[in-house]
């Protein structure tokens, strides 16, 4: 008994220590509140702040709603109906994950803008002048919401799909016996059961939307993120910028709380008794309709922009620049690979520590390190630079005193700094997956293994990791793709002469050389597709095992 308690506390201790270290950048951000400059805040709140708040809130809730809608209906139809082309759709449906939001924004602008091919065609066909017709403006808040929903719905889809497919077939049979329509069953039974998972996915999509800078900046929508950049770069006030980030964190904190509360009253564990949900065969018109419905999101979220990028790449790219691409792709893949292993391992450690000792301290830390996801990358980068710079300087003093050596910067400007930034930025993504997964494992499992005399480490490897396979994989994939797409922090923290695909794409695009940016963009997408395919396969395999 005592032994297990000690083991538990060792885990707790490790996770708190790791949480403290990870939390450093966030502490740095919050420390800015010690230097309150009333004049700046007076100016901000009387001019731009109301707009930041309303735009950011609209964007977050809009994307949350859009991603939830798309992700949920896709997951439900794909899990429950065996329509023609379902296998193909299953492969395609995750692909928008590989499409960075700022790149989809660039491509659709190129397509739909006033000077783009579509509107020009409309004007030429009907001989209209510039003011004679109405056309939706893609570069607007609404446009940002639509495009971000199209690339962020996979967050909801992955979690919802796992939740739906774990629902026992019995529920549906009971509904059918009781004469409840499929729609009513979905609304009254399936959806409430899957709600925690769906909410988690929605929260992730919302945080991602809140932290986005590239898209809103390009669309001319003033949000918290653009405000942070503007306050820092334009006003040269890094303090007020950090304080704005702090407020953004509070906003996210509220989101996380809402999400946690929604989970609280629904403690359900997946039972592997009886069959998981079985897909129903559909034919003919019904099947065609379902295929069409399920192919819409991927068409607009992936295929259309991908084709446009491909056209730009093949028609305008300078083939001589191709020789550097293997190196960029390797760098990107290496960072994403190391990063996702580190992040997922830590997330598993945190979640397991919480399970062993569901104390307030541990939960508090987990929530604290989750905040990084909603912080713009640049802000995280600053939060990383400060403590690492300090550590480096102290280290040099130490070695100077004892060995008369000054190694210079050991941590800053190295891969370590990048991985550190990714860990704090994307911990939340991994945690949401591991938390959701570990909560679905019945406590009786742990009891049984305790009775059999397993240590907590053995239990982790024998019981939790095998059961969490799907969650860990989803987590690894999401983090991998996120790191691949990450731009601002990578830009600031990377070592000398070190380029990634995202950095290349951004440099060209931000220089308004959109067409030149197509090549690196499409490479990001291609590198991102590999793990997406791997995940699809694995999820499929895991589902079939329990079918």
């Amino acid at each position: 008994m005592i032994k297990t308690a000690l083991k538990g506390s060792a885990f707790t201790l490790y996770s708190v220590l790791a949480g403290l270290f990870l939390g450093l950048p966030i502490f740095v951000i919050f420390a800015s509140f010690l230097f309150w400059d009333a004049a700046i805040w007076q100016h901000l709140s009387s001019t731009v702040l109301p707009r930041y708040i309303s735009n950011s809130a609209t964007l977050a809730f809009g994307v949350g709603f859009g991603a939830t809608l798309i992700g949920t209906y896709l997951a439900w139809l794909i899990v429950n109906y065996d329509f023609y082309g379902r296998r193909l759709i299953q492969w395609l449906v995750l692909l928008p994950l590989a499409m960075p939001a700022y790149i989809i924004a660039y491509t659709y602008t190129g397509l739909l803008d006033f000077a783009g091919p579509l509107q020009t065609l409309v004007r030429d066909t009907f001989a209209l002048g510039s003011q004679d017709y109405w056309f939706p403006e893609i570069r607007s808040l609404t446009g940002a919401i639509v495009l971000m929903s199209l690339v962020l719905y996979p967050y909801v889809y992955i979690l919802a799909r796992t939740a739906f497919s774990e629902q026992s077939q019995k529920y549906r049979e009971v509904s059918e016996l009781a004469g409840v329509s499929p729609l009513k069953h979905f609304l009254k039974v399936a959806l409430p059961l899957a709600r925690p998972a769906i909410m988690t996915g929605a929260a992730l999509a919302m945080m991602e939307a809140l932290a986005d800078f590239g898209t809103v900046e390009y669309f001319g929508v003033s949000t918290f993120t653009t405000g942070i950049y503007r306050t820092w770069f334009g006003l040269g006030d890094i303090n007020a910028a950090s304080q704005l980030s702090g407020f953004l964190c509070l906003f996210v904190f509220i989101l996380i709380m809402i999400e946690k509360l929604s989970r609280r009253d629904s403690q359900n564990y997946s039972s592997r008794q009886g069959k998981s949900a079985q897909a129903k065969k559909v034919r003919g018109m019904q099947s065609a309709f379902l295929f069409l419905l399920c192919s819409l999101p991927v068409t607009f979220g992936f295929i259309v922009p991908f084709v446009q990028l491909a056209i730009w790449t093949f028609s305008f790219s300078d083939i001589s620049s191709l020789e550097d691409y293997p190196e960029y792709a390797m760098n990107s893949a290496m960072l994403a690979g190391i990063g996702c292993v580190v992040v997922v391992t830590m997330a598993l450690l945190f979640s397991y520590a919480k399970r062993l000792q569901p104390s307030k301290t541990v939960s508090g830390f987990i929530q604290f390190v989750s905040l990084g996801y909603a912080m713009p990358g640049t802000v995280i980068a600053i939060g990383v630079l400060v403590p690492l710079g300090w550590l480096d300087i102290k280290l040099n003093m130490f070695t100077n005193a004892y060995f008369d050596v000054q190694p210079g910067l050991v941590l800053s400007g190295t891969i370590f700094a990048l991985i550190f930034a990714y860990a704090i930025r994307f911990m939340s993504v991994a945690l949401n997956n591991t938390e959701a997964g570990i909560q679905r494992i019945k406590p009786s499992m742990d009891e049984a293994s305790k009775v059999l005399g397993d240590s907590s480490i053995q239990r982790l490897f024998r019981i939790h990791i095998p059961l969490l396979k799907a969650s860990l994989l989803s987590a690894a994939l999401l983090v991998f793709v996120d790191i691949l797409k990450e731009l601002p922090a990578t830009l600031v923290l990377r070592p000398f002469n070190f380029n990634t695909l995202a950095v290349k794409a951004f440099e060209l695009a931000s220089d308004e050389r959109l067409i030149d940016a197509a090549l690196p963009s499409i490479t990001i997408v291609l590198v991102g597709i590999l793990p997406v395919i791997l995940l699809t396969k694995t999820l499929d395999g895991i589902e079939r095992k329990y079918a």
């Binding site: 100016h43 001019t47 731009v48 602008t109 803008d113 006033f114 000077a115 002048g129 510039s130 003011q131 570069r139 390009y218 669309f219 001319g220 003033s222 653009t226 503007r230 770069f233 334009g234 006003l235 040269g236 006030d237 890094i238 600053i382 630079l385 400060v386 690492l388 710079g389 300090w390 480096d392 300087i393 280290l395 040099n396 070695t399 004892y402 060995f403 050596v405 190694p407 210079g408 910067l409 050991v410 800053s412 400007g413 190295t414 601002p488 830009l491 600031v492 923290l493 990377r494 070592p495 000398f496 002469n497 070190f498 950095v503 440099e507 060209l508 931000s510 220089d511 308004e512 067409i515």
Partner: protein, 338 residues
């Protein structure tokens, strides 16, 4: 145990430390790699000095140099706007570069009074108009853009953009704050749309008929005129440049420039690199490839720049423009310029 671990730490430090014996120079550049690397490669070829490069946003790089402190590997900081160079100087991360070559080759108004930074290239931000709809006779000064006749006809990018901040900052120097605020309000009232996109987007919007005049940097239009894509070239050909305020203060200009970092370890190489960027061949390359104006007298402009015509530039103190950047941004906030 302590001894073993300290030896281990030492071993790690030796492995990780980025020291090398060969001559090299570390460049922190806010200029994009494509716009700077060819020059750096030429420099390496000519001198045998290896150039290590990192690119990124100017402010992020400045923060990085700050947090790296005395151990910062940065030797040279390159920026695309005067505001950032002034800020770097104010933060104490640059040093005096009292190189005669710089003094001889760069006009005084394009250098810091205390020689902390120098311009490398010059860019202008004139008015651009649709050839088929706007009579250049109707254009005169920047001030006149607030006239009723331009209602819903002007495109310009967001106030987040540093070029706009510097432009307003320059106006604060020449007109004073109150007048600049009134002007900004008047300009916002004449916007054809909420600001969005970059400078090229403003030019495209003029051609598409969404607005009739735009304010943009010269090298964006020049780049479009020399684009590989024929449609882009055609678009750019429908726009012409108008140089405002030629009778009085001149057109607003900005610079890209360079500073030596305070804790530069490769001081000689850093200075050699700056000298190299001010040689005739480097200045010609800038003018030909990036379509920026050389800072050195007597360097031939690219044909595209020549076609845009010569102009009188403002000789406002660039240091002051950098110093009032924050004021300019607040002023734009108050004017409702998004």
């Amino acid at each position: 145990m302590v001894r073993i671990s300290s030896v281990f730490v030492l071993f790690l430090l030796v492995i990780f430390s980025a020291h090398s014996i060969a001559a090299e120079v570390n460049v922190y550049s806010a200029r994009k790699e494509a716009l700077i690397k060819p020059i750096l490669d030429d420099f390496s070829k000519e001198t045998g000095i290896k150039v290590n490069l990192i690119t990124g946003g100017a402010d992020a790089l400045i923060s990085r140099i700050q947090s790296e402190g005395q151990f910062s590997p940065a030797d040279v900081l390159i920026s695309t706007d005067v505001g950032r160079l002034v800020r770097a100087k104010q933060l104490g991360i640059t040093q005096v570069n009292a190189d005669d070559f710089v003094v001889e080759n760069v006009p005084a108004y394009l250098r810091d009074e205390e020689q902390h930074w120098t311009a490398l290239t010059l860019r202008a931000r004139p008015i651009m108009y649709a050839k088929d709809r706007v009579n250049p006779e109707s254009l005169s000064t920047m001030q006149a853009l607030t006239d009723e006749k331009w209602k819903n006809r002007i495109c310009i990018r967001s106030s987040n953009n540093i070029y706009n901040q510097s432009m307003i900052s320059g106006m604060i120097q020449t007109q004073g704050e109150a007048k600049t605020l009134a002007w900004a309000k008047g300009l916002v009232a004449n916007f054809a749309r909420t600001p969005k996109g970059g400078d090229r987007d403003q030019i495209k919007a003029v051609v598409a008929g969404e607005c009739d005049i735009a304010i943009a940097n010269t090298y964006y239009l020049a780049g479009m005129l020399n684009d590989e894509d024929e449609a882009t070239r055609k678009t750019a050909q429908q726009v012409a440049v108008f140089w405002p305020d030629q009778e009085t203060i001149g057109a607003h200009v900005n610079i890209s420039g360079v500073s030596v970092a305070k804790h530069a370890k490769n001081l000689d190489a850093a200075k050699a690199l700056i000298r190299f960027m001010l040689t005739d061949e480097a200045q010609v390359w800038y003018a030909e490839t990036n379509h920026e104006y050389p800072v050195k007298e007597g360097i031939k402009w690219s044909q595209t720049l020549q076609d845009m015509g010569t102009f009188k530039a403002q000789d406002v103190s660039l240091s002051k423009v950098g110093e009032t950047n924050a004021k300019a941004l607040m002023l734009m906030d108050s004017a409702g310029w998004r």
